[in-house]
Amino acid sequence: MTWKQVFTSSVGRKLVMAFTGIFLILFLIIHVGLNACIWANDGGEMFNKGAHFMGANWVPRLLEVGLFAGLFLHIIQGFLLTASNRSKRSVGYAVSYGEGSKWYSRSMGLLGTLILLFLVLHLYHFWLPNRSHQGFLLGEEINLYEKMKLEFSELWVVVVYALGCMSLGYHLAHGFQSAFRTLGVHNKRYNALFTSLGYAFAIIVPLLFIMMPVSFYMGWVN
């Protein structure tokens, strides 16, 4: 038995999706926590301090490399799995079976693609200008709070961010609990716990993210 055999079978590939998925969930907690500093209403002082810690310190910057690696693995594996699963039924049904499962659990590939499209725009708005200003090393950062203010003054940006975060919410509604099932949680109590926790996470975190551009657009933060 080789590591390759373990992680390239149908169950092994699920395990990769689950491990990277949980890793990305942990990242979301940090991201939402740090960004929530905008609501300190201190002209972005606290938020920029947090952003500075993440951007001008080798430890989070090295973790960022790991984050991108996990993200790429999740995306590529997700695309490959979706394509491979689709190819297993060359003649489809005339009447499809929808009642047995939730629509978002069947649409993880589509939701993931929507999140990816949103992510490209999101990185273009904040990560890319900041890192290129830093020379992709530990140079001086841009004022990210002011950048948020600027970007979120446009209605279409706010709408696209809201839609992107809603896709994330539905993706998490299935992905959170599914990841734990994939890791082998079959105890009834724990399954119930992770399912409720997953729904709570899938609602609260994307909602907080949506409230950020909305807060800027509506002028709730200054």
């Binding site: 699963n85 060359s90 047995g100 939730k102 082998g184």
Partner: protein
């Protein structure tokens, strides 16, 4: 329950063999009793087709009492038809009303090629079992049932998994054509018992490898399989299979 008669329009998938393309054909059956089973209704239709000199519709069936796993029709968008925890042979015509149109398709998955009409080749399941769904023991006299103490909960969970009749409805219902519910039932019922313990690691690795080789898709935990399973095999068996696989994958030599 009130007994009544009905006339139905049937839209049935006809396909000569796995090499030719199939198509839907429309049939009308009349004066069908609400107390007939779905397969008896098909028997009536086939008698009618034979009388008219047409080719009767091929479909799988054997025990006709819901325990063998041979019947396999996908009726109105659900494997085994509209009732819960039920096989096609135990679906009765009182599930339908006079004038209904019923669409009948075979299990659709490339790993289950159509043999003819509504009959598909499910020998892939047999090969998955051959890859490890057994325990290796010398045969002989039956041992005393109490010589191996097994906790009641484990025995019950094992029995619930062993209820799987291998009909393939889970594959038919799954958007990925995954056989994971079937496989997890077979792995679980042995993994929960001491007799299954010596071979548990090689069993799960070999059976998963065989399942992949047969061309089934990967599981994405949507739960469609559990919702349609005639024997109500629980989705938690898949999580147990994942755990078995992870432990074996990390510790097997």
């Amino acid at each position: 329950m009130e007994h009544y008669h009905m006339n139905l329009n049937l839209k049935v998938w006809r396909q000569k063999n796995c090499k030719t393309k199939g198509e839907f054909k429309l049939y009308r059956v009349e004066n069908i009793s609400s107390e007939m089973s779905f397969l008896e209704m098909f028997d009536v239709l086939n008698e009618q087709l034979i009388r008219d000199g047409d080719d009767p519709i091929t479909f799988d069936h054997d025990c006709r009492e819901g325990i063998c796993g041979a019947c396999s029709m996908y009726i109105n968008g659900k494997p085994h038809g509209p009732w819960q925890a039920n096989t096609t042979c135990q679906l009765h015509m009182r599930a339908f009303k006079d004038g209904d149109t019923v669409v009948v398709e075979p299990w659709r998955a490339d790993a289950f090629p159509v043999i003819k009409d509504l009959m598909v080749d499910r020998s892939a399941f047999d090969r998955i079992i051959q890859a490890g769904g057994y325990i290796s023991v010398n045969t002989g006299n039956a041992v005393d049932g109490n010589s191996l103490p097994i906790p009641k909960d484990d025995a019950d969970a094992s029995f619930a998994a062993a209820m799987c009749i291998g009909c393939g409805a889970c594959v038919a219902a799954c958007k990925n054509s995954s056989a994971m519910l079937f496989l997890s039932a077979k792995v679980s019922h042995l993994a929960l018992l001491p007799q299954g313990n010596p071979e548990r690691k090689s069993r799960v690795m070999n059976m998963v490898a065989q399942m992949d080789k047969e061309g089934f898709g990967a599981c994405t935990n949507t739960g469609a399989c559990e919702a349609t399973c005639p024997k109500e095999i629980s989705l938690s068996n898949i999580a147990r299979l994942n755990q078995e696989y992870l432990m074996a994958g990390l510790t097997e030599k």
